[in-house]
Symmetry: C2
Subunit: 163 residues, 2 copies
């Protein structure tokens, strides 16, 4: 069973009442959000973002990675964002995980994960501080970018500022 036909049918309904066709590419609120891919998180909803408001970057953990830097350079240089919100969350799959465990999982199905760092972490608040620090230290992230780091509680929907 595939869910893809359901997703395409949902899109037909969405397109039938679509009204946001005239928006420009540059985010109206000049902000980018980096957060986790977690299915329980909807950054548009928990941050009150409307269509056209913000660039939204998501990966496992909401971690800083060269791909995030690549995307943030585009967001700043071409799309004019000047603020950046980093959001990690409680009950994250990356919390307490280890690279050895992930590599073992892959080895069990015959796949060599090589030296991939899955970017797990043991301390949620520290992971937010580490990623904000990494962004602030990167020469590729412009110095006039305002950066905050938050933790999202998946059980309450509430954000807490860490940095």
């Amino acid at each position: 069973m595939s869910v893809i036909p359901e997703l395409l049918a949902a899109n037909e309904r969405y397109a039938a009442s679509f009204t946001a066709g005239g928006l420009p590419p540059a985010p109206a609120r000049r902000v980018a959000v980096l957060t986790c891919m977690d299915a329980r998180m909807d950054p548009a909803k928990f941050l009150g973002l409307g269509d056209g408001d913000a660039n939204v970057l998501r990966n496992a953990g909401g971690r800083v990675h060269p791909d995030v830097i690549r995307s943030l350079v585009v967001s700043y240089e071409l799309l004019g964002t000047r603020e950046l919100v980093v959001v990690h969350h409680t009950d994250c799959g990356m919390l307490g995980l280890s690279n050895a465990y992930m590599r073992g999982r892959l080895r069990a199905r015959g796949v060599d994960a090589g030296r991939i760092d899955f970017l797990p972490f043991d301390d949620l608040d520290q992971s937010v501080r580490d990623d904000v620090d990494a962004l602030r230290a990167s020469p590729l992230i412009a110095g006039d970018t305002r950066i905050v780091g938050l933790v999202y509680d998946v059980h309450s929907g509430r954000l807490r500022q860490v940095v």
Copy 2:
């Protein structure tokens, strides 16, 4: 002027009526979505995804990158996703861009972008095919993952299947 106080105030309102606190981490619909960070795109809305339904990965262009592979391995191995939807879009900032241009932009503010590949593309449908092919060719992406590639039209809200 910062928008961050507004985002935190919006979150207070969101949390005050939050009802999705009991969801498990594994996506209910066992699907992951890879799409662009573009401010005009809200994958939950244009694919009809509810809270808890899907892992959502976003970067500049919705391109495959080692960080995406990292995240998809976690999504498959730990969170049980078995389908993957890749969505690029019309009017994307990565369309027609060049690495030389981006590196020049950075050089103009004194930053050496080194050999960063910003993953621009010249043909929208081909970029979708290339990324689906890259995922299918990766030994890290399990062979039983169903992958489709779509183009989202930012002017109509409509998806078109490419592969």
